[in-house]
């Protein structure tokens, strides 16, 4: 039965793992499986748990850690989107999240991480990603933008990004 479930889930680039699949195989093979692709992964896990009385956990085949609120229908495109992101894009996203919520804003953390990323920029695309982040920051958090500007200009005389 787990094979049957995984055959269906593989259409959405997902895979289910069950810690007690042996019992699963022996006793539950006759129940009809009706997975709705509009279910979120959480709902799919709940459906299988209720239907077959067994716990499963769904993972992504492309991007392992796929959130439970993603619909089965969207899981393939979600994973591909995550997979396509460059290393720099992911790190800039991490910094964006840090300054998005003012309660969690940690300016020193953001500045030292940006400094670190700046030293690794080695092409126009990467420069654009970092500059876009700074341009957006200027709109949403001018104080932090100015703080970064002052810090970077003091440290790197030739910087022309601001």
């Amino acid at each position: 039965m787990l094979d049957k479930i995984n055959k269906i889930l593989s259409n959405y680039s997902c895979n289910a793992v069950s810690s007690n699949s042996l019992i699963f195989e022996e006793t539950k093979s006759s129940i009809i499986l009706n997975i709705n692709e509009n279910y979120t992964l959480g709902e799919t896990e709940k459906y299988i748990r209720n239907q077959f009385k067994i716990d499963i956990k769904i993972f992504g085949l492309i991007f392992n850690n796929i959130p439970s609120y993603i619909k089965l229908l969207d899981s393939d495109s979600y994973q591909k989107k995550r997979f396509k992101k460059t290393d720099l894009e992911k790190k800039i996203e991490a910094l964006s999240n840090l300054n998005k919520n003012t309660l969690n804003s940690d300016e020193d953390w953001i500045i030292r991480s940006l400094d670190n990323l700046y030293l690794k920029i080695n092409n126009k695309n990467e420069k654009k990603i970092l500059k876009d982040y700074l341009d957006n920051l200027k709109k949403v958090n001018t104080n932090l933008y100015n703080k970064i500007k002052e810090y970077m200009k003091n440290k790197y005389e030739l910087i022309d990004w601001f």
Partner: protein
């Protein structure tokens, strides 16, 4: 580590709700981080755990001084059991891992199920010891008329150190006689100190493709670097 977002969705008709807990982690260690493993608990207003997301492994990459994101999403299947949803709290634990990688080399591919390839390859590196590599073709079932064959590689890894190895991953590449990759596969296990584990990835290919084929094998070991912990309150997701 900081929680940058902790939200839950409006309960659906069947009283279920999804959550999203995003965290940013800074790699302050001297190691490059290659993997993270996280756990998130959901607690009601009385501190009773009512949901969790466990063993969420991710290829998190961060050099020293860099930061990365992780996201967990415990699912609440019965929100009516929770009480006041706005008083839910989350506890997140994350461990980061460094990786050691090395190639074991390229080995012949068995051509039939009666003749396995047994290499006396041995390696001792860091905490692990490998004593030989055993590659076999599975015997086809009697009623199997296809020419699809399974090639399994068995590598026993001993942990001769005193550090717990979270994950030892063996990766196979089946390459044809022109060095084109036919298929890849991987398998992994954890290996506690003073113990061993057998790691057995398999590849599948048509019998004809296996003529002159070989198998490239590499190993990656993952060691814990640092543990992180954060707590936060959940709020209702804005549409």
């Amino acid at each position: 580590m900081k929680i940058t977002e902790a939200t839950y969705t409006t309960p659906s008709d069947d009283q279920s709700s999804s959550t999203s807990i995003k965290c940013t982690i800074e790699n302050t260690s001297e190691n490059t981080i290659e993997m993270s493993k996280g756990y998130a608990l959901l607690l009601d207003e009385n501190g009773i755990v009512i949901g969790n997301d466990a063993e969420r492994e991710e290829d998190s990459f961060a050099e020293t001084g860099e930061s990365f994101n992780v996201e967990y999403s415990p699912y609440i299947d019965m929100t009516n059991h929770v009480g006041d949803l706005d008083k839910m709290k989350t506890i997140v634990d994350v461990t980061t891992f460094r990786r050691e990688f090395f190639k074991l080399g390229e080995f012949e591919c068995p051509q039939d199920h009666t003749t396995p390839i047994k290499s006396d390859y041995s390696k001792e590196t860091g905490d692990i010891r490998i004593q030989g590599i055993y590659i076999l073709m599975h015997k086809p079932y009697e009623d199997d008329n296809s020419d699809e064959r399974t090639i399994e590689t068995r590598i026993a890894v001993r942990n001769i150190g005193d550090t717990y190895i979270e994950k030892v991953k063996v990766k196979l590449q089946l390459v044809d006689k022109e060095d084109a990759v036919i298929e890849t596969s991987e398998d992994h296990r954890n290996v506690a100190p003073s113990s061993s584990n057998s790691i057995s990835p398999s590849v599948y290919a048509k019998k004809g493709k296996l003529k002159g084929a070989s198998i490239k094998i590499s190993i990656a070991t993952y060691y814990a670097v640092k543990h992180f912990h954060a707590e936060g309150n959940l709020t209702k997701q804005k549409n």
